[in-house]
Amino acid sequence: MRRQLDPGFCSEWSNTLKRAFATHQLMGVTSLSMNRCDAAIHLGTLSAELNDRIIGQLTLDWRVVDVHLQRVLMTALTGAAPRLKPAWLARLLEAQHPDGGWGGFYSIVPLAFGYWYGVT
């Protein structure tokens, strides 16, 4: 349990393509903070370090998929909303479906017969 309070703990399973771990760790840290469990732990420092990682990931990872939503959401939720670039919010809103939901496929280039080239 104590090892999980290290900002690099979740990065042990990270790779270059799927770096959603920082958001999940920040979610846990935020939950601790919301439950006022920060007496013996410097949750603020840990949260700031994780936020730095997430901002870096938002800069380099341009895929507007669920991990993008998580990154934007956790950055805003932990009080770092001013660090969010308007382009990240604009892309998030552009990808939103008419009924408010999001898809798991980010289309990039249209192909023939209604198919798209994109990423998940």
């Binding site: 349990m1 999980q4 979740c10 399973w13 799927k18 959603a20 771990f21 958001t23 999940h24 760790q25 979610m27 846990g28 840290v29 935020t30 939950s31 601790l32 919301m34 439950n35 006022r36 469990c37 938002l58 800069t59 380099l60 341009w62 998929v65 669920d66 991990v67 939503l69 998580q70 934007v72 959401l73 956790m74 805003a76 939720l77 670039k85 308007p86 382009a87 990240w88 919010l89 604009a90 892309r91 998030l92 809103l93 939103q96 479906h97 008419p98 009924d99 408010g100 939901g101 999001w102 898809g103 798991g104 496929f105 990039i108 280039v109």
Partner: protein, 200 residues
């Protein structure tokens, strides 16, 4: 005199051969062994791979630029989980729309149906034909301008993102609505912190 000129001649030939060999384009080991140029399928395959790599790099650079360019802050919509006043957004009125139909959409609030907005002054619908809520708010059943609604696309919107993201939104909704989690600080909340980050 003749024995002396022969070495000069040989030296000249050797120098010429060396120069020619230096100027000859370098080839792969296979080509030198076989003495044949690359086969056509092999050439096509390598050219296609190079073109594909160039296209991939171009798409990556283009998307990276799109992701970090300077754009004005979005004016409409709201972040998921964030309570935000639902503002009407003007859009061109569709042919065939009638006031009666708009009023019906407002009352029924059918899922996926653009909900016609009333102005902030709560004037009749007739006053703002063609106005609707922003995309992030219109999914909410019964959303009207001026009313604070939590953006919770997982309640009414269709989505196909990972289920773990759903917990992010529900947590954000609770936080922004001022409700603290019911779990007290203890073993249960520690378990929440142990989310190991598995995604699809």
């Amino acid at each position: 005199m003749r024995p002396q000129s022969q070495p000069d001649h040989l030296a000249s030939e050797v120098a010429t051969a060396a120069l020619v060999a230096q100027q000859r384009p370098k080839t792969s080991g296979i080509m030198r062994l076989e003495g044949q140029p690359r086969s056509r399928p092999w050439r096509i395959a390598t050219d296609a791979l190079v073109a594909l790599a160039a296209l991939g790099a171009a798409i990556f650079g283009w998307q990276l630029w799109l992701n970090n360019r300077d754009v004005p802050a979005p004016r409409a919509g709201c972040l998921p989980g964030e309570p935000r006043e639902c503002h009407p957004v003007a859009h061109p009125k569709r042919r065939g729309d009638s006031v009666r139909r708009e009023r019906s959409a407002l009352v029924n609030g059918a899922r996926g149906t653009p909900i016609v907005a009333r102005p902030a002054t709560r004037a009749p619908v007739v006053g703002v034909p063609g106005a609707k809520c922003s995309a992030a708010c219109r999914f909410a059943v019964g959303a009207t301008p001026g009313r604070h609604i939590p953006c919770d696309p997982y309640q009414n919107g269709t989505t196909s993102v990972a289920s773990t993201t759903t917990s992010f939104f529900s947590m954000a909704s609770r936080a922004t609505q001022g409700r603290r989690p019911v779990t007290p600080c203890g073993a249960s909340s520690i378990q929440v912190s142990a989310v190991n980050g598995r995604t699809r």
